[in-house]
């Protein structure tokens, strides 16, 4: 029995990684209405920047994560300002293709800057070790990820639901024309929202480095995961993404234990089922 509880905890940790990955994607889609294929690539950039600051330059862990998020947010600003801004009115295939083009560019830039090696970081000192839960050792770092995931969820909820800025963003997402008529600087708001989305991706990537090696193929693996989570939660639905992350995390964790053959397969089944039965996501409503 205890093993099931323990596996649930592992699944929750997994879920928080997925949540950090998917939150930015679904926010960008909800506000900008563009599904950003390069979100996984931004996650990967976050991982590489953090590795550079933390492992190579030897900076403090927190500082590294923060600097990495700041760098990727700046890159996000460039992407929104110079590329995305020109495609909002285009048909869907062209929007997807542009962000896919960005994936190709970022992938090669990463190879040029960091090479093709798999890079891993050490778990920071104060988060090493493990606690004994359900008769098994549970890494402190996993507890830390659980806390960060919940913290980010609360932060996003407060930001969008309780602040004046969040209100303006929701207004811009609701109607670009109406908001700009009322004097809201919509282009600037969109840039800021995309910077936030990019920074969230980077935080996810930065926090994953002690657990998962960074490699040039990381972005392509992550973007599909992010799609699964956001689609299950409903594209653009932030709360849905949180629920979707927990569902996929649990599903992966338990299927790894019970039927490892289908561990890769099942998340796609869940994604397809949601799309066929409730395309607007499990939480419903657009």
């Amino acid at each position: 029995m205890e093993i099931y509880l323990y596996q649930g905890l592992v699944g929750l940790t997994q879920a928080m990684y997925l949540w950090l990955l998917a939150a930015g994607l679904t926010i960008a889609f909800g506000v900008l209405k563009v599904l950003n294929f390069s979100h996984g690539a931004l996650f990967m950039l976050g991982a590489y920047f953090a590795l550079t600051f933390y492992s190579i330059l030897g900076l403090n862990f927190w500082v590294s994560v923060f600097l990495s998020a700041a760098c990727v947010a700046l890159i996000g600003a460039v992407i929104e300002r110079f590329f995305l801004r020109h495609i909002y009115q285009l048909e869907l295939p062209f929007q997807l293709l542009l962000t896919f083009g960005l994936v190709l560019v970022i992938d090669d830039l990463v190879k040029m800057a960091w090479g093709r090696m798999f890079l891993v970081a050490d778990v920071p000192g104060f988060l090493q070790g493990a606690v004994w839960i359900f008769g098994r050792p549970f890494p402190n770092y996993n507890l830390f990820i659980l806390a960060v995931g919940i913290g980010v969820a609360i932060f996003i909820w407060l930001l969008f639901d309780k602040t004046w800025w969040g209100r303006k963003v929701r207004a811009a997402a609701w109607s670009r024309e109406m908001s700009s008529t009322l004097g809201l600087d919509v282009p600037r708001t969109f840039t800021l929202v995309f910077m936030l989305a990019a920074a969230l991706a980077a935080v996810g990537g930065a926090l994953s480095i002690p657990m998962r090696p960074a490699s040039p193929g990381l972005g392509e693996a992550m973007i599909v995961q992010a799609f699964i989570v956001t689609v299950i939660g409903g594209l653009g639905n932030i709360r849905g993404a949180f629920v979707g992350a927990i569902l996929v995390g649990m599903l992966t964790s338990y299927s790894t234990m019970l039927f490892p053959l289908f561990e890769l397969f099942l998340p796609y089944v869940l994604m397809a089922l949601v799309l066929i039965l409730r395309p607007e996501g499990i939480l419903g409503g657009r």
């Binding site: 495609i87 062209f94 040029m112 799609f227 890769l264 397809a272």
Partner: protein, 329 residues
């Protein structure tokens, strides 16, 4: 006269050129031309969905892989090329029929996401079903079996001979697709693309027609995959990964989405550009990505669409290049 100069002469020249490739070119140009022809078939099928029906599939690699794996499995058992190819195509068509039935209920981004998840299901199946697919090792030693036509048996084990087989099949597939796009079916699909609501109002069963397009695209992807297995003699799971689905998408975008010749020219350019860049630098993706971004931002008609637009700015090409979506989808 105009027709002969504009269409028959270029086609005759291209065919003449293609027939002589194995004669003046070495093994590698021949191999590369086969690659281009396979991508032509793959991308033409894909564009029936995107350019003609308005549906962007991100799972075409799944059908490509079904074609490749089934033809490889058959060829490993029975040394008959025709059986392998036909088996691969039919299997891909069958899978496309089932998955298409579910997919065409959705449109826009939801359709793209569903096809992506179906494609990745096939990928994880291929990856994990080791007993049948060989897992990450794939299937190796696929024979380039002889082509048995009633009484004659043509040996295709030499790539130069296999080239002519692929050429004949590709020309037939291109011609067939041209007829499809000009048939009532093709015109109906374009009507659905321009406005599904209006098409439904005049009594067109929209979903059924989208399914036709989906299955034809699946058959073409399967055909390309089925011909790949004997060419490479190996099939690996990479052919089913979504990254591989991007190849026909990129080729089609480069050539032009709303022109019949778009995917054909695009396939030539895609493989040609890649071949040239790879010789100069190992970083070909950044160039390809840059090309895609420039095309999306400035030349959405692709190479063919843009050139046609320059040549004669008559109404049709101008509309094809700068087509705006109908309101009230």
């Amino acid at each position: 006269m105009g027709f002969a100069v504009r269409f028959l002469l270029p086609i005759a020249l291209i065919l003449g050129f293609l027939v002589t490739v194995p004669i003046w070119g070495g093994r590698y140009p021949t191999y590369l031309t086969i690659q281009i022809m396979l991508l032509v078939v793959f991308a033409l099928g894909f564009n029936l969905l995107l350019g003609y029906t308005g549906l962007l599939s991100f799972g075409q690699a799944g059908f490509f892989a079904v074609g490749a794996y089934v033809s490889a499995l058959i060829l490993l058992q029975v040394p008959s090329l025709l059986l392998g190819i036909v088996g691969g195509v039919l299997a891909a068509g069958l899978v496309a029929l089932v998955l298409g039935y579910l997919s065409v209920r959705l449109t826009e981004i939801y359709f793209s996401m569903l096809t992506l998840s179906f494609g990745m299901m096939i990928y994880s199946l291929v990856w994990r079903w080791r007993a049948v697919t060989g897992g990450d090792d794939g299937l190796t030693g696929v024979p380039r079996a002889p082509l048995d036509l009633l009484v004659v048996s043509i040996d295709l084990s030499d790539i130069m001979n296999y080239y002519y087989f692929v050429l004949v099949v590709t020309v037939a597939a291109v011609f067939l697709m041209y007829r499809i796009t000009r048939s009532p079916l093709g015109l109906t699909l374009q009507a659905i693309r321009d406005s599904a609501t209006r098409a439904a109002f005049v009594g067109i069963p929209v979903r059924r027609y989208r399914l036709y397009a989906f299955v034809i695209a699946g058959l073409y992807a399967g055909l390309a995959g089925a011909m790949l297995a004997p060419l490479e003699r190996t099939v690996t799971p990479i052919y089913s990964h979504w990254i591989y689905s991007a190849e026909p998408i990129l080729a089609t975008l480069i050539g032009g989405i709303y022109v019949f010749a778009g995917p054909i020219v695009g396939a030539v350019l895609f493989i040609g550009i890649k071949e040239i860049i790879v010789r100069l630098t190992e970083h070909w993706m950044i160039w390809m990505g840059g090309i895609v971004i420039v095309l999306v931002l400035g030349f959405r008609g692709g190479v063919v669409g843009t050139i046609l637009g320059w040549l004669d700015r008559d109404k049709e090409t101008a509309r094809a290049e700068e087509r705006e979506p109908e309101a009230g989808e």
